[in-house]
Amino acid sequence: MTGLLEVRNLRKAFQVKGADGLEELVALEDLSFDLARGSSLAVVGESGSGKTTLARIIAGLQPATSGSVTFDGKPLAPPRRLVDRIARAREIQMVFQDPFGSLDPIQRLGSSLEEILNLHYPGDRAWRRRRVDELLEQVGLSQEFRERTPRSLSGGQRQRFAIAKAIALEPRLIVLDECVSALDVSVQAQVLNLLSDLRQALGISYLFVSHDLAVVRQVCDQCLVMQFGKLVEMGPTQLVLNAPQEPYTKSLLAAVPRPGWRPSKRTQVHQ
């Protein structure tokens, strides 16, 4: 099994204005991991763990401060030129947390998908229309959605459409940044099942960023726990969640409400 994505010594620091001029805020520190082809890797952590920064770097929205990201054997640099951006778009796609902000509010769904297809695979109209219908169907939206705008969609429908946009280019990796955390539980289940189905059908890899351990278990076979920008623990999801090695992972697991659970004062790990 070769790695689809190899991350080595990744570091990201932001310059922020502090009390004494500029200060360095480290979001990621010396992070290394592999994502195997066809595998689904969860990145788990609480707020401030740097997981969203990692997702944005891999998707090409932010440059890293140092370290390297290799995709399919080729180094992945921040796409400065348009050609690079287009090339990256066909390899890696992303689904965002906020289902209400991540879609252009006034663009109809059909036109949104066609815009993407037209840019990457300029073909005849009939083919594009067929493909749009196919994509909508794949995420469980009927054809009548083609003429609707995101405004008239519920959160779950929006998120499913965002997934349709992500798979439209048949990428090899989809970065999912907290993509179900804003959804109601009953709707979240629909999206989680959809993600599992799509992975089986299309063989896409996921980098699944989440704070929710139960959700992670549902979608991912590999799991990476982060805290304060550093890697805490990594391994097969089942192993990490059933037999956590690190105290932080244990405390994280202990804090998740479940039947018979009682809140405890000593779960928060202070630095």
Partner: protein
């Protein structure tokens, strides 16, 4: 962080039907524009023909709004004056919106040095009061139609750029812009096809409100004697021409021109506010 759970946004069955008040106001605006275009053909008298014999007449069947001190028909001058006033204000709005929006989009998208240089340059223009710029530029270029138009364009560009820049920045931070980048779209496409249409209502509202201000300021410069020169007709100039008659208790000239300005400005302002209230927040 949780802003997107706000119930107003959740389903938003925003009805596609337009606001009736907006339609009515838009109709009035169109009428004003129409008057500006066909006004000269509707005028019962020539606006520049002085007739000392019929000077200073009150309203009558022959002269609905009376005549001025030179015996010119006030209604005719109002109708003809609409052309210069409205054309001046429209040009100012069109030019300042064009430049303001382009600067704003470029600054918001690029950020960094371009943004800070642009914004400090605009801040320096801001540091000089608008009317003062207009007065100085009129001095530089001489009186007439174009000097106040150019001067007021310079004055309004920073205002528009500032408002639109902050709207564009807000828009740029929304996740759909990231999504567009990830889909491989070019910066031009993202700005022109996605960001600009989404802040379109803000641009429209800003332009509408600027129109009112431009009409008033264009008139002010003529009022000061630095813009349109007599015997041409322009509303602000007519207000100034009526000043001496006012002291003698005859107020048709100043008041009719003043009222035209006020009504036009109110209509445009209310329209602008309605647009931004109703369609501004996406």
């Amino acid at each position: 962080m949780t802003a997107f759970i706000s119930p107003a946004d959740r389903q938003a069955p925003r009805s596609g039907s337009a606001d009736p008040l907006v339609l009515l106001l838009a109709a009035i605006c169109l009428t004003i524009f129409l008057i500006a275009i066909v006004g000269p053909y509707l005028a019962p008298y020539s606006p520049e023909d002085a007739d000392i014999l019929s000077a200073g007449l009150g309203p009558s069947g022959a002269h609905w709004l009376g005549t001025d001190a030179l015996g010119r028909d006030i209604l005719s001058r109002l109708l003809v004056g609409a052309r210069l006033s409205i054309a001046g204000a429209s040009l100012i709005v069109a030019l300042s919106t064009l430049f303001g929006v382009s600067i704003a989009l470029a600054c918001a998208w690029r950020g960094g040095i371009l943004d800070s240089i642009m914004m400090s340059a605009l801040n320096i223009v801001f540091a000089i009061p608008g009317l003062l710029i207009a007065v100085i530029l009129s001095a530089l270029m001489g009186a007439g139609f174009w000097p106040p138009v150019i001067a007021l364009t310079v004055v309004y560009v920073p205002f528009i750029a500032r408002v639109i820049r902050s709207a564009a920045l807000r828009e740029r931070r929304r996740a759909y812009v990231d999504a567009c980048q990830i889909a491989g779209f070019s910066s031009w496409r993202i700005n022109l096809r996605h960001i600009a249409p989404n802040i379109g209502s803000i641009i429209l509202a800003q332009a509408t409100i600027t129109f009112g201000a431009a009409l008033m300021d264009f008139g002010a410069i003529s009022f000061l004697g630095l813009g349109i020169q007599p015997p041409q007709a322009e509303w602000g100039l007519m207000v100034a021409e009526g000043r001496s008659e006012l002291l003698e208790g005859s107020y048709q000239l100043s008041m009719s021109a003043g009222l035209m300005i006020i009504i036009t400005v109110i209509v445009f302002n209310v329209l602008g506010e309605r647009i931004s209230d109703r369609y501004g927040r996406a």
